[in-house]
Subunit: 421 residues, 2 copies
């Protein structure tokens, strides 16, 4: 195992000269970072965290970057500043060899490991609907959020200068889960805010939310779904439930019912799945998530956390959300520490803390596992406080709060973000 | 002149049915916007403001975007929200025909005018030094500032992953005017802030400021230049005065003295000039600026403002700075109004309000025309207050102040912006 010790920076060697256990964490999202934080500062463990980006993305607020509410930097926090006492390696994992216990990297120099934590997140999935890849935008990265914002704002510029038809100010969001609901609400408010600046071209601006299930937010209780739908409609979103998308053209969404909705911007928020690439590592579910044992393991010393893991819960599996990812990452850190001390691992249990979705300014729905429900302003304030609390980094928190304060105070008067060159 | 009235939106028609005088302003910078604001709300005037970008760029703070102090959006303000009661047309002016009184646009539909205000700003100039265009970065747009930031941060990533030599953490800024001084100071502080995150690769990080004249800030008095040099050196900038650049290679700056400075990033801030394209409209100076009469006219109803105008002052001409541009734009607006009322125009006089440059956190030099000088913290506070005052838009002001407060409070602890994908 000399190779392992070579990859461990001298600052991470344990004082008694014994080579520390080397843990490679793949992915610096909610799961990977929670795991890295749990392991940092323990001299018997050396951690290498790998990600293709040098920042953690606070993805629950991506929709605000997409709609001009927040600048990109506010939701991207440097990984190196987020966890101390570990090694961060920027790069792409191209292979995983459980037998020889190495991770292959895109720069050709493999990373040996004692423990591997796979926390690579998820990707948007088209469910095979024609046109999604070609004509719809997804929202999983800063780059994609930037593109959504650019498209939304550019459409106004292009209509104003007569280059495109005003019909193309129509926006269709496919998928009535929390992401689709939050995005549709924020787009409706962005469109409202742009009326002053583009008085000639805004009559045709619209946003339609399409959900195949009979109600939006189908993981919530029915009263919350009803509130969400009503509040969306109040701020101008056209909500279409029980409608499935047949195919997407460059400028239109065709429904299975035969109806066609013209749209300059189509955003696909209808679901995510694990990455094909890693599905072959073990048994996986229909969403490409790896089926783990009750300790979150795929095999000895191979752990899976977050959206990559398929973990049974009730009649199904745990949802692909940040709280699950954080709890899994933390749990794995504890198990690795326990095992390194000769203790037995304990099974993972998810502590459900409830769920929430925000709908534009001052509206949200919140549900706690004890059946307690909130909506409207109190729910929105809860949403706000929790999101600020979980944002990494003081600078980001201050910037986000300042931007939100301004958004709140100057709604409809304050300028929206502009199309940058 | 029926064509003119066709281009004027009905909301801008004067109530007595007489076609309003149509003023086309080319360029939505400090000069163009000041002129547009001066003309807006007068029923006898219809204004069309043209720019290729839909925002006003607050260029005095571009260096902060380049060095991660501010997000891009904070210094770009939507033109349509900045001035009401005028028509904004997004596009590029491709021709100006003073005889037929039309402006040719890139979309093929010309704009007729009664008065034309040319306020197109300036561009970086290489002064013929080989390698500037190919290997140096300039800082005149959001796009260029973004690229500087990306290069500065990416160098750390590349050194950390072993892809490039640590020598390439060296940064050279060419030009010791306010822009070069402010940029070099901010880069030194960015490098200091990154030490914690990249402990292995920061020993070689450096920033060198090169100025051909015997002192930096040569438009200031000698004591201010001395203060600026001392303060730059205190925060770690290597200041080289009396050194001219011979040529720039991909990874080095060669001085006329024969010395070679290795550099991963070279930023050219050695000067700006007017655009070649419009120099043919009249007599121009060696910086391609159009020589205007004492009313800021090139000819009857053709006005020039800001960096595009060469206006005599003392033994030379007025400098290419924002206060000059704003005063010129305002003056032209007043003259157009006066002429439309049958009055005679009055000559332009520049009211010198002094000059200032900031040097990193809490350091600046300020000079007033009466000989009063400040440096250090009082000068910095003055700089800060004035820049916030002149920033367009409440949202931008609040965001900038919040970011600056945080930068100030958490210097050296707070994370810097990260490389985004």
């Amino acid at each position: 195992m000399t190779e392992v010790t070579q990859t461990v920076p001298s600052s991470q060697h344990s004082p008694d000269g014994v080579a520390p256990r080397h843990v490679v964490i793949v992915g610096a999202g909610f799961a990977g970072l929670a795991c890295a934080r749990g392991l940092a500062g323990h001299p018997e463990i050396a951690v290498t965290l790998v990600d293709k980006n040098p920042y953690q993305l606070f993805s629950p607020l991506l929709y605000q970057v997409s709609t001009g509410g927040l600048p990109e930097d506010d939701i991207a926090y440097p990984v190196r500043a987020a966890v101390e006492g570990i090694t961060f390696r920027r790069g792409v994992v191209v292979a995983i060899d459980p037998e020889h216990r190495t991770v292959g990297m895109d720069d050709g120099s493999p990373l040996p490991f004692d423990d591997l934590v796979l926390a690579v997140g998820s990707t948007g999935t088209s469910f095979g609907v024609p046109g999604v890849e070609e004509h719809a935008l997804q929202m999983k990265s800063i780059r994609e959020a930037r593109e959504i914002r650019r498209r939304l704002l550019q459409a106004y510029e292009d209509v104003e200068s007569g280059h495109i038809s005003p019909d193309l100010l129509g926006v269709v969001v496919v998928g009535g889960g929390p992401t689709g609901v939050e995005l549709a609400g924020a787009i409706a408010e962005l469109q409202k805010g742009l009326r002053r600046e583009y008085p000639g071209s805004t009559q045709r601006a619209s946003v339609t939310l399409i959900e195949a299930a009979p109600r939006v937010l189908s993981s919530f209780t029915e009263p919350s779904s009803t509130h969400a739908k009503e509040e969306l409609e109040e701020i101008g979103v056209v909500v279409r439930v029980g409608e499935a998308v047949d195919r997407i053209d460059p400028h239109a969404v065709h429904l299975k019912s035969g109806e066609t909705l013209p749209a300059g911007t189509v955003i696909w928020a209808a679901g995510v799945s694990g990455f094909d690439r890693w599905a072959e590592l073990g048994k996986h579910d229909r969403l490409n998530r790896l089926e783990v044992d009750r300790f979150l393991r795929l095999g000895d010393g191979i752990w899976v956390a977050g959206d990559s893991a398929s973990f049974p819960a009730g009649s199904g599996t745990l949802p692909m959300i940040a709280p699950v990812a954080m709890q899994m990452g933390k749990h794995i850190a504890r198990q690795i520490l326990a095992i390194s001390r000769g203790s037995a691992p304990t099974p993972f249990t998810y502590k459900d803390k409830g769920q929430m979705a925000t709908i534009g300014r001052r509206r949200a729905v919140v549900e706690l596992p004890n059946g307690f429900r909130m909506h409207g302003t109190p729910a929105w304030l809860t949403w706000l406080a929790l999101h600020v609390f979980y944002l990494a980094g003081g600078r980001n928190r201050i910037s986000v709060v300042a931007d939100w304060m301004w958004n709140y105070l100057a709604w409809g008067i304050g300028p929206r973000r502009t199309v940058l060159d």
